[in-house]
């Protein structure tokens, strides 16, 4: 039975990964499963300097989902390399750092350093970060800004480059195509949807940042539609993200055409969910007589 999938030159032992920002740096998760058995771990969004993240409320449950406004709290590249990578390598995890710089230069520097770091399997570029040079609008919301960033990063990234797309645009597929044209090896889709909550008692937004990112099962059908359309129209490997938590969800996204999936919010609900999906996928392949997981990928595209 073959469960491995390829993303450019990178081979994952199976298509089930853990999404950035919901796996920390693997330490806590390793208390719940052998993280080497996961397809990959996408670590928390990194900046050059450590970031304290946002003040005020950071999480709020919503119907079948949650809003978050963490603000990319992270340890910074220095501590990531000296303290977090050694642990992940020792555990045998497939590590894909999430790069979350706030300028083209910061992203380029991060990708240059990470590309040279032993044990980094690939890079995931988070284009949902505000671009401080352009008034804080996220890189991933305008094609020219996006293209400039991906092009610059591609030049220094010597490992596979995955671009994580923002869904807060009219047509996400357009960005998948732009990523391919800039030489990205894959895209991951999608990041959180911008949402909001107003505290009616106080008469003001619940989050200090006003808006926050919506994730979880609430966004799953929208993410699935985006992934399905993208896979039909652009020839680039897609890592699907959005409310995935069960084997049924994993199969849906693979059948839609994704070559791998990431489990985010549902990892927060149950840290055993990712490993359980790995095991259930093997069970599914066994009982349905599928010998290679690639037979499942895209099945619903041709039907």
């Amino acid at each position: 039975m073959n469960t491995s999938v390829s993303i450019g030159s990178l081979t994952l032992r199976n298509p089930v990964t853990v999404a950035s920002g919901t796996a920390g740096y693997g330490e806590e998760l390793s208390g719940y499963c052998d993280i080497a058995r996961l397809g990959a771990i996408f670590t928390k969004g990194l900046s050059i300097e450590p970031r304290p993240g946002n003040r005020g409320p950071r999480i709020l449950e919503t119907p079948s989902g949650m809003l978050n406004s963490i603000g990319l709290e992270n340890v910074g590249i220095g501590k990531f390399l000296s303290q977090k990578m050694p642990f992940l390598r020792e555990k045998g995890a497939t590590v894909i750092p999430n790069v979350a710089g706030h300028s083209v230069d910061e992203n380029v520097e991060l990708c240059r350093v990470l590309s040279e770091t032993p044990g980094v399997a690939a890079l995931e570029l988070n284009v949902s970060c505000p671009n401080v040079k352009e008034g804080g609008m996220a890189f991933g919301r305008s094609v020219p800004t996006f293209t400039a960033l991906v092009t610059a990063v591609r030049k220094v990234a010597t490992v596979p480059l995955i671009v994580k797309l923002s869904p807060n645009v009219t047509d996400v597929t357009e960005f998948a195509r732009a990523a391919k044209d800039c030489g990205a090896d894959a895209v991951s889709a999608v990041n959180t949807f911008l949402g909001m909550k107003i505290d009616i008692r106080k008469g003001k937004p619940h989050f200090l940042n006003k808006v926050a990112g919506l994730s979880g099962p609430a966004i799953r059908p929208i993410a699935l539609r985006i992934v399905y359309e993208m896979c039909a129209r652009v020839d680039i490997p897609v890592i699907a993200i959005g409310g995935i938590g069960s084997i049924e969800d994993v199969l849906e996204f693979l059948m839609a055409g994704a070559c791998a999936v990431s489990i985010g919010t549902m990892t927060l609900v149950d840290p055993r969910a990712p490993i359980s999906c790995v095991e259930r996928l093997e069970d599914y392949m066994h009982t349905t007589g599928v010998s290679d997981v690639r037979e499942i990928i895209g099945r619903a595209q041709t039907a």
Partner: protein, 252 residues
Amino acid sequence: MAQLIADPREVARGHHELAFAWDGAAPLPGQFISIKVNEGSDPLIRRPFSVYDFREGVLRIVVKSVGRGTRELSRYAKGDALDVLGPLGRGFSVREGGSVLLVGGGVGNAPLYFLARALVAKGTAVTCVYGSRDAGQVYLSHEFLEVCDRLVITTDDGSAGQQGTVADLLPGVLDGGAFDMICTCGPALMMKAVTEIAVSRKVPVEVSLENYFGCGVGLCYGCTVDTVNGNRRACVDGPVMDGSVIRWDSLD
């Protein structure tokens, strides 16, 4: 999965005791468990609860109904199995010898009973200031009375024990005895006041935070609190922390 060994029992108005058969790791005082209150995706995230007591394979919590998840928990029945993670987090220091003052507010009294038992077992004298809104919301005070050397009940309206908040009473209690340490759990504003009093009298103080948790296991950075040493995650670096290092205005 953890099975309820009895129907949830109403121990005070809107407060239910849940008792689980527990074969997981033994919890320490101040640790919590995290419960998925139903099978579906709504409500989605787990709900955290302090361990009220653990002995002979039975883990008890006290749940105050404040919303959908907590109400749902009160409606389970004996024999039902719930998805429970834990024990989680860092608990209180269990001092050996000397004298410790426990200060609880409302549902925040819950972890203090288990702590009191552990302290008494180590030969430590325990005084407990048990604060509540009113007499109807005082739960299991007879159990506290059995283990604590001294129990002072206070209610905001004076309907049970002395009238006033725990912060009103605290200076008097501290004047009346020497304490090596204060351990507190309750609303943030109360713990802030207790910390200020403790710090001004140079008594070490540990607080058990009850801010909004996301995952409860350290993955999401949703429950971060600001301390003099930088950000700390309440779920894994706490919920019990040294009260004097917390920047309380970040919890408002």
